[in-house]
Symmetry: C2
Subunit: 523 residues, 2 copies
Amino acid sequence: MVSWRNLDTLEAYKKLLTLKDSVSLRDVLNGARIAEYSVPMAAGLTYNYAAKKVDKRVLQILQELADEQGLIEKYKALLNGEIINTGENRKVLHHLARGQQAGDVVYNGKNMRGFYEEQRLKIADFAAKVHSGEIKGSTGKKFTAVTQIGIGGSDLGPRAIYLALEKWAEKNNKKKMDAHFISNVDPDDAAGVVSSLNLEETLFILVSKSGVTQETLANELFVKSFLKKAGLNPSKHMIAVTSETSPLAGNPEYLASFYMDDFIGGRFSSSSAVGGAVISLAFGPEVFECFLSGAAEADKTALEQNILKNPALLDALIGVYERNVLNLPATAVLPYSQALNRFPAHLQQADMESNGKQVNRNGEPLSYATGPVVFGEPGTNGQHSFYQLLHQGTDIVPLQFIGFTENQTGEDVTVDGSTSQMKLCANLAAQIVAFAKGKDDENPNKRFPGERPSSLIYGKKLTPNSLGALLSHFENKIMFQGFTWNVNSFDQEGVQLGKKLTKEVLSGKMDETLSSYAKLLGI
Amino acid sequence: MVSWRNLDTLEAYKKLLTLKDSVSLRDVLNGARIAEYSVPMAAGLTYNYAAKKVDKRVLQILQELADEQGLIEKYKALLNGEIINTGENRKVLHHLARGQQAGDVVYNGKNMRGFYEEQRLKIADFAAKVHSGEIKGSTGKKFTAVTQIGIGGSDLGPRAIYLALEKWAEKNNKKKMDAHFISNVDPDDAAGVVSSLNLEETLFILVSKSGVTQETLANELFVKSFLKKAGLNPSKHMIAVTSETSPLAGNPEYLASFYMDDFIGGRFSSSSAVGGAVISLAFGPEVFECFLSGAAEADKTALEQNILKNPALLDALIGVYERNVLNLPATAVLPYSQALNRFPAHLQQADMESNGKQVNRNGEPLSYATGPVVFGEPGTNGQHSFYQLLHQGTDIVPLQFIGFTENQTGEDVTVDGSTSQMKLCANLAAQIVAFAKGKDDENPNKRFPGERPSSLIYGKKLTPNSLGALLSHFENKIMFQGFTWNVNSFDQEGVQLGKKLTKEVLSGKMDETLSSYAKLLGI
């Protein structure tokens, strides 16, 4: 029986609080430690935590914490279909969209793994017909571009994945269609995308689990009005990804409908039809399958009890140590890969929306810090931007670096004896050491205090497979942190009040304060 | 005589520390306060701070702080060409690139305002010749696209401005050329951009003040190798923006060279030739002039001694109150405008690189917090992402909203009785009130604590003029905060150690720790 307890009731946590910042990176970081503080991940990736402020003693207590809080048991309960999303009384099944790591999950007589697989295969079949030209636009033109209409979880993850694989796909002759994304209710977003498209050859994917997302429905009608103006039949240019119970489901106004359900939260839906439709159309279904298989492999690794063999669990626990013991309120994700340009924005959502909570899973107030602020930009760009504060600011921000030996396009140039890819990786190595070890100088303005912790995820190349593993790593890290903090990482009640007040503004039934702000903005 | 003192030596600061969180937004926020807590900015924008946790008492002490620290005197000293960048022994002259608010600044016999104007006019002349077809590519084709090669300050600001004005320019028939940007040393960045271009019709702008930026020089040679492969003459396809003393200056390998100098820091260089070349080429010189005139108008407003009439100064002081008295370590910039998509990334650089310092302007260690972490994404997108944590997380993050009554394209659609633009603005108004006032609920999971402070900058439409004023507002806010904290906001010593260690890796002369990391990454 899994027992759900607040972090501050655990014996291991009390021990952990006594181990405040006992490690000096300047003293301990060396080749032997870099070799030792390393865990294989899935799909050829490795998690290296040599530059984190942990030692054998801290790691031992983190293992005790994992065991006492039953983190692996809770993960298994989730995999077995228990009601982990307590606030909404729902199962949490995004792992099942990419593999099955535990027993069958059956709901209302339906095998859920079977359901997700069925949807994936239907998408694969549909994509093949689009690629072959069997399914065409309303004027008989082949579809050459796909445009996703969705926001939040229906946008950030799929967009980040598309951008992460676009150059890889071009290089490997997997690129089938260009993909575009419309998300913001700002009409200039849709207007800008639509004006850049050849509408005759564009297939739109409308993505809304509930079928009532305000922004997405407004953008749907925006797009349809343009399709009509162009003399096209909207129902031949749009498919829907939604839940079977939504108003969009099975609507003949769509060329096809594909389904996910309430057991897959938006921010964890990249592995479902939400990511599957656009990625299968853009790059082919087999690319999406490789992505899922990398994620499934990482999900399996996350079952390991020993934290030194479980990178997602270890990463989660070190994060909790940094947040609750070292009291560091923010963390940065820094991929040294232009393809991962929007990956930090997706992780920002996945992490902050999941664990930005002040009540536990039973709705009781908590007296310790939960999810941190997450931000990031790709390196080396960030080095010329906010790294100044990271190196010499008054606050310490833990860092998550990501890097690859090879670039995706294979294009490169040698300048001053090194390729650009070598320069990219040299910068990454240099930053880790600079943050950890710092540098003394008699001029304090040129002094680097060091002792700024980072970890490194690295691999040979960013591919569909390694990207899947990377995404799963962070999803599972967030899940383990939620379990540790005893929060429900799978609801988002914090988005409701804004929706309610927005409706008040639009209906004209608002109080004086709201009305005053609305007037400033011309409403 | 301006006197430079640390914040914690000021009498007003000691008073301020006693006024910790004395304002309840739930109690005080109403229509009268929204009307009163408002300051006109430049170019038709308004700064509203009704939802900030300040009252008359706090504002009075902030005024005392501004006076005691001599913030306006320091700004005037900067405008008059004093050596404000102490670490590098340099003047700070980015304001002069857009107007003259104080006396003549002469350096080595050169009137600096004249110099910046001369460069602007040279760019305007060059752009006109490109637009007319008088200057063509090496195969005689007219230039239809421009691509900026630069990183950090040579990338984020110009890119944010281009994106902010692209739709406006299309709507108003001002769009002359598409612009693209190459920044990252990751060769996939340049490869991706170059493969999307018609090289025969592309003009490249190489931007590096020093002329030795590693990433930019690597990308220059990358681009040149592609130009040569395409049978084009690189010297007919590339201009340089640099300082007169750089190795790039006056080099016949460039079609033209335009200059800025060491008195304009990268992150403040959008108003100089760094932003001027690409914006004048993309939209025409008169659009860049409108942008500069909006910025100059805001620079003038920033001279006002009364903090209630000086929005940049007031914003800066409220930020210091939040950082040093309320102890809030991060702040979010949330533009409700898709066109301002990358504006938060530019402000993240401008703010964190300027004030992420732990020594004062004389190089002496400080014992109080300086620059916060800055992050943000456009609304409404962010609402479906990280706003959960902002509403219900355990930490409070002060917010800076930005919104406009009208969209740029004029395209819109009415759904359920409201346009998308109305929905956008209704969401913005709703969020401010939700953050400030919260909502009680018997279920704590549905409870919103409120008391989360925000300010709102609003105007009729995002145009070149209002964008210039917006950028100046934040630049001056950052400057005033730097003065308040007594840091040098204009150097960036924190970027040097990484550069040094990168060179060690690339030369093979590295210690064991660095070498171990380099090996993991294939070097």
